[in-house]
Amino acid sequence: MASGTAVEADTFPKLLLRNARERAARVAFRHKDLGIWQSWNWAEVAEHVRSFAKGLQDLGLKRGEKVAIIGYNRPRLYWSMCAAQWLGAVPVPVYADSVAEEMAYVLDHAEAVFAVVQDQEQVDKILSIAERLPHLRHMLYDEPRGLRDYDHSKLHAIEAVMQAGAKALKDPQQAAALQSEMEAGKGSDLGIILYTSGTTGRPKGVMLSHYNILIAAEIGCSFDGLNESDEVIAYLPIAWVGDHVFSYAQAMLAGFCVNCPESPETVIDDRREVGTTYAFAPPRVFETMLTITMVRMEDAGALKRRMFHYFLGVAKRYGEQILNGESVPLKGRLLYRLGDILVYGPLRNRFGLTNIKVGYTAGEAIGPELFRFYRSIGVNLKQLYGQTEAGVYITMQPNGEIKADTVGKPAPMVEIRIDDNGEVLYRSPSIFGGYYKDPDKTAETMTADGYVRSGDAGFFDEGGHLKIIDRAKDVGKLNNGDLFPPKYIENKLKFYPNIKEVVAFGQGRDYATVALNIDLTAVGNWAERHNVVYASYQELAGHDLVYDMIAKHIDEVNRSLASEPMMGGAQIKRFLILHKELDADDGELTRTQKVRRGFIAERYAPLVTALYDGSEAADISTEVTFEDGRKGVISARVKVRDAKTYPVTAEGAPATAKAA
């Protein structure tokens, strides 16, 4: 992993060829397909990509043109990125679940001339917006199913394009020409454009050069000592910078194997089968796993349940110390060993994390309890703080210095500065070259001295670890001047398994309130055990006993807020449980499942009003989009409850606490 390799092979096609030379027989890609893990070694991948590139070239793809890549994680889609880069074209991965509208914008904005897609669904989607994409010349698909009768003048099977390419490459002259096309590529060339989903406004195209991405990959590989023996499962959207770095760039750099699951539904089983050594998942995934664990254990026999919880207690006491290599009394060590046989080992096995070397979570704050749980059972889970504009890495947690409530120290080669208003700024060789076709936004984001504004507010603690509070612009104030960090509050609540989504209100108001979604799995299970009968989410959400339970959680959060500096004023005074689940299809969440606070406040205005006018309940009707695209209206009467607040105990905070 010496940085020397990055110099000699300064683009991804060059890296691929290096891998094909140095580890030709090692498996590079696996894809669970037709019941087994179909595998390709580096030599085969290189050959496929070469043929693919030739095929694309013969279809007329030129240096600098953009290729949209749409679909779930499939080997051929990753290969298409490399094939495009081979010719000096720029891949533009697009979120596969974007609706036609979003896709039309991205493809049009990127001026994509080719689209490489997974299946009929995506082909249909693009055909439906074809007239808005004047630049699009050809479409390629991976899965031929259902496409047999389509007009194939502009539509091609990837397989066919590759075969045509392979045939053309039999001519040594053409092969040489293709080779020199690849060699013409430089590290400073634009390597990829990644569109950020963005909480507001249109997506922005983040331009990253080969060099940027290679540096990012290098940071990660050397930080955790990744090598060719590692296994990663690629299941996060290919359009997201994390997947691009972990499943593409680092795999190319370190030469490890990328495993593509059979379908999004089988990821957990597939992960277990493959036994990944290097894993990445947003907190949500870890949270779901833990929720399912706890829910299932409720159904276990009393003895087993007690044993389970006893050993989780043991893990809580000693697990993290053992993982961090700290000294632990012999008894603790022995108990932990026993627990490893009875509980932790089997749990890791069920999660598919038996062979895990290092796991990362990022994207959002992870609950400290949740984070510690995984570490305590022997999963080396770490947090990182990153952004697309940074080519991912900003801060990382070094081994042995892992704290649940910080995101770690600046990553290698990254410099960080905290602005006067608390905003985090960073600079590194891997930061982006600008937003595609948007110099204004670029100028807004980049400082004159080459720092990038993260948009997040945070501070360094005494150990030099960065702590992120919230989006800089979101940290607001209550009318009395108290600090109001909505995300901070939301996260505290979301760490309870019963709560799925939270939206906090308070900016420019007298006090803080929340509207939340319960977690249907966890609460549904709770309901079953407590003989609470319900027919729908709406009914369960409105149940008084559920309100009681949530009130307890809020009470705990208030207590903890009261004890933190500057946060005491933001205690939650009133709350309600939303009658429907927040949904990306309704625009309430972003595609990366973040809440869109402003939109929600507008959409649920009557409820927000009720939170502040003291009424006991409010009526609301909301339009919803069903899975098949139809629309409907849900109406409900939503109850509002008061919560208890506590006197502020920490210093330096205004005392606004009073009993409710």
Binding site: L34, G35, P144, G146, R148, D149, A157, E159, E262, T266
Partner: protein, 271 residues
């Protein structure tokens, strides 16, 4: 890797001229009860042929005659130019006729995979002793057929239930597995007995799509019995209408829809 899901005979798509099977003056009695009386019709290569009619019209009996489960007392079945008064079920299977059943007739104790693998039985040639060794040729043969079966599983999108016993699957999935088992025989003629009975709307749509895809991609000729008139009208190229064991109409969906006898017998009453 998987450019073509199945190696079906390379017949050009939908050449609907040739008659694949014809039923000539069939009569079937059970004791004194007449189930079918003097019915004739034909099924052309590549088409989707629907058999409709009110309950007890003799539709299932008709299918049973076609694949040899019942032996009509009078009349003949001509399949691929071969005229025979008697068809034995396994002969029909060997000749390229596969079918599904009105009430799912899966092998309940076996997994989805094994169920579909049974559809390959006729194509597997290795003898007893190779099977007992399960190495070399017998294993190669199993693998070769497993590949075909996996293509079918992929085609029908039932990957997630591959290794589950079929007995516990929801009804809609069972029907899909049964279709898979029939497809595994690579039939020339596929008989579907109410493929969408008892399904919800979404499952029906899926099944419709599969039937069209089978017909379209593999060129398989399909004869189906169905009650949902919408489905019949959408799917089929030609429709034959039975009532009390007699044929009362035969033609394109539009022709049949306008036929007064059909309207009286069926459409007007039942739907």
């Amino acid at each position: 890797m998987n450019a073509e899901p199945m190696n079906v005979t390379g017949t050009p798509l939908r050449d609907k001229g040739e008659v694949l099977l014809s039923v000539e003056n069939i009569s079937l009695r059970f004791g004194g009860v007449k189930a079918i009386t003097d019915v004739s019709f034909d099924i052309r290569k590549g088409e989707i042929r629907a058999i409709i009619g009110p309950n007890g019209a003799g539709k299932t009996s008709m299918l049973n005659c076609i694949n040899g489960f019942y032996q009509p007392q009078e009349g003949r079945v001509v399949f691929k130019g071969e005229r025979r008064a008697k068809m034995r079920p396994h002969r029909a299977a060997a000749g390229g006729i596969a079918r599904t059943f009105q009430n799912v007739a899966l092998f309940k104790g076996m997994s989805t995979l094994d169920n579909i693998m049974t559809g390959r039985t006729l194509k597997m040639k290795r003898g007893f002793f190779w099977q007992a060794l399960r190495h070399g040729p017998a294993l190669h043969e199993e693998i070769e057929h497993r590949r075909v079966v996996e293509d079918i599983i992929d085609f029908l999108q039932i990957e997630h239930i591959r290794k589950l016993p079929v007995g516990k699957l929801p009804y809609g999935l069972q029907k899909r597995v049964e279709l898979g088992r029939a497809l595994a025989m690579e039939p020339e003629l596929l008989l579907l007995d109410e493929p969408m009975a008892g399904m919800n709307l979404e499952e029906k749509e899926d099944m419709c799509r599969f039937i069209l895809d089978v017909n379209n991609q593999f060129g398989t000729t399909i004869a189906l019995i169905e009650h949902d008139m919408g489905v019949v009208m959408d799917l089929s190229d030609r429709v034959v209408v039975l009532e009390y064991g007699r044929k009362i109409a035969d033609g394109t969906p539009d022709e049949v829809k306008r036929d007064q006898k059909v309207i009286d017998a069926y459409l007007g009453v039942a739907h």
